[in-house]
C-alpha cells in the first residue's frame, strides 16, 4: 500500500507545531497502525530526521496508552484502540491525517504525545474506595446483585485513554468521569464515599479545564470500550443525590 501521512509535528510543549507530509510506499495491509508509524520512524531515523513521537504501551488494546486523532476520529475509523487498528481499514493511496488529542487539560508534550495527568488527578480526587488493611474479609460476606456487578464490570473496562475528551465538541471528560463514578457506585464497597466522590471528582474535572457536557454523544461513539452514555446520566443522578444530602 502507498500511504500519504499528514502528521502534527511539535518539537516540545512550548514550541509551535505544524502539519507535515510524509510518503510511505511499502505499507502492508496486515500491519497495525502503530507498526506503520514504526516503519515511518525507521525511515526517518535512516534519513537522520527526528522520529515522530507517539504513545503506545501494551499494543493489546487494554492499557489505554495509545491515542491519536486519525482522519478526525479518535482511535481512527474502527471501534477499538489505535494499536488494534490495522492498515486494511484504509485504502491504497489514501491520505491519513494524524493529530494529537486536542484539549487544554491535555497539553501536547511532543508531536502526538499529550500529557493525560489530568485524568490521574481526577482519580486521586475521588476515584477510589477506602478499605481496612489486614486480613482479607470473606468474599461471600458481601453479596452483589448480578445486574449491578455486570454494570460495574462493563464500565470498569474504561482504560482512561481520553478518546471521549478528544472527540467531544465541548472538550468534556464526562464519559470518563461517569464511567468511574458508575463503576464504584454500583458496588457495595463504593457506597461510603459515594457522595463525596462525585462532588470531588466533578470539581477536579472542572478545575482541570475540561468543558461541560451537552449530551451530544460523540464520546461514546469514539470510546474503544463502548462505555454507554447512561453513565453520564448516572453521574448527574449521583450529583443530584449528593446535593440532596447537603454536599
Amino acid at each position: 500500500m502507498k500511504i500519504t501521512l499528514n502528521i502534527w509535528r511539535q518539537a516540545n510543549a512550548a514550541a509551535k507545531g505544524a502539519m507535515q507530509k510524509y510518503e510511505l510506499d511499502d505499507v502492508s495491509e496486515d500491519m497495525s497502525f502503530l507498526e506503520m508509524l514504526d516503519l515511518l520512524n525507521e525511515n526517518l531515523n535512516e534519513q537522520g530526521e527526528d522520529p515522530v513521537a507517539f504513545d503506545s504501551d501494551c499494543r493489546e488494546g487494554i492499557c489505554g496508552m495509545c491515542s491519536l486523532m486519525i482522519n478526525g476520529q479518535a482511535h481512527g475509523p474502527e471501534v477499538t484502540t489505535t494499536c488494534q487498528l490495522h492498515m486494511r481499514s484504509f485504502k491504497d493511496g489514501e491520505t491519513i491525517t494524524i493529530e494529537p488529542w486536542r484539549a487544554e487539560p491535555f497539553p501536547v508534550l511532543k508531536d502526538l504525545v499529550v500529557d493525560r495527568s489530568a485524568f490521574d488527578r481526577i482519580i486521586q480526587s475521588g476515584g477510589y474506595i477506602s478499605a481496612n488493611t489486614g486480613s482479607a474479609p470473606e468474599a461471600n460476606n458481601l453479596p452483589v446483585e448480578k445486574a449491578k456487578a455486570d454494570r460495574a464490570f462493563d464500565v470498569a473496562t474504561c482504560i482512561g485513554c481520553g478518546a471521549c475528551v478528544a472527540a467531544c465538541p465541548n472538550g468534556s471528560a464526562s464519559l470518563f468521569l461517569g464511567a468511574k463514578i458508575t463503576h464504584l457506585g454500583s458496588l457495595p464497597q463504593g457506597q461510603p464515599e459515594r457522595d463525596t466522590r462525585v462532588v470531588d471528582m466533578v470539581a477536579q474535572h472542572d478545575h482541570e479545564g475540561f468543558g461541560g457536557c451537552t449530551n451530544i454523544g460523540e464520546c461514546t461513539a469514539a470510546c474503544p470500550k463502548e462505555i454507554p452514555l447512561d453513565v453520564i446520566s448516572q453521574l448527574n443522578k449521583d450529583l443530584r443525590t449528593a446535593m440532596k444530602h447537603g454536599y
Binding site: 465538541p169 468543558g211 460523540e218 461513539a221 448516572q234
Partner: protein
Amino acid sequence: MAVTGLVFIGYVLLHMYGNLKVFAGQEAFDEYAHHLRTFGEPMLPYGGLLWVIRVVLLLSIIGHAYAAFTLWARASKARTQKYVVKKAVAATLSSKMMRWGGVTLLLFVIFHLLHFTTRTINVNGDKDSPYDRVVSSFQPEMWWVAVIYLLAMCALAMHLRHGVWSACQTLGFTNTAASRARANFAGVFLAVVIAGGFALVPLSILFGIVD
C-alpha cells in the same frame, strides 16, 4: 439549563393550546385572550396571572442563557487549538444547532413580543381583536411574516428535539438503555407536537382555511 428548559416546555405547551383556539373561531379565541387577563380575579389584579408568568419566564430565560453561554465559553476554553480534520460521528443535526439555534430563537422571541405583545411592529394594520391581529398578520400577501414564524418553528423543533433528551440526561433520568430510548423519543415527539401545533395556525391562515 435543564430545569429552565422544562419551564419553557410547559409554557410553549400552554401557548400552543391557546393558539389552537383560532380554529374555534373569533369569539372563542378573543374570549380566551380576555380570560387570561381576568384569570384569578379578584384575588389577582387584571392581567396578574400574565405578569406572574412573565416574571417566571424572564427569570428562566436569564438562567437558561447564562448557563448556555457559560457552557459555550467553557467549551471554547477547553479546546483553543482546533483539529485540522474532525469528523462528527454521532452528533444529530439538532445537537449541532443548539447554540446558534438558541440565539435565533431568542431573537425570534424578541420579534414575536414586538409583533403581538407590545404591537410595536405592525405588519398589516393594528386591530383591536387579538383574533384579527393574528389572521391579518398571516395573510398570503404578507407571506414573509408566515415564513419568519415557520422558520422559527423549525428552530424550535430542533431545539426541543435535543433539549428534551439532554435535559433528561442532565437530571439523571436516563440510566438505562431503555430510558435513554424513551428520552430520545420524548424529544422527537414533543418537537413534532409543539412545533407542528404552532405551525398549524400560520399555515391554515396562509392557505385560507382560517379567515
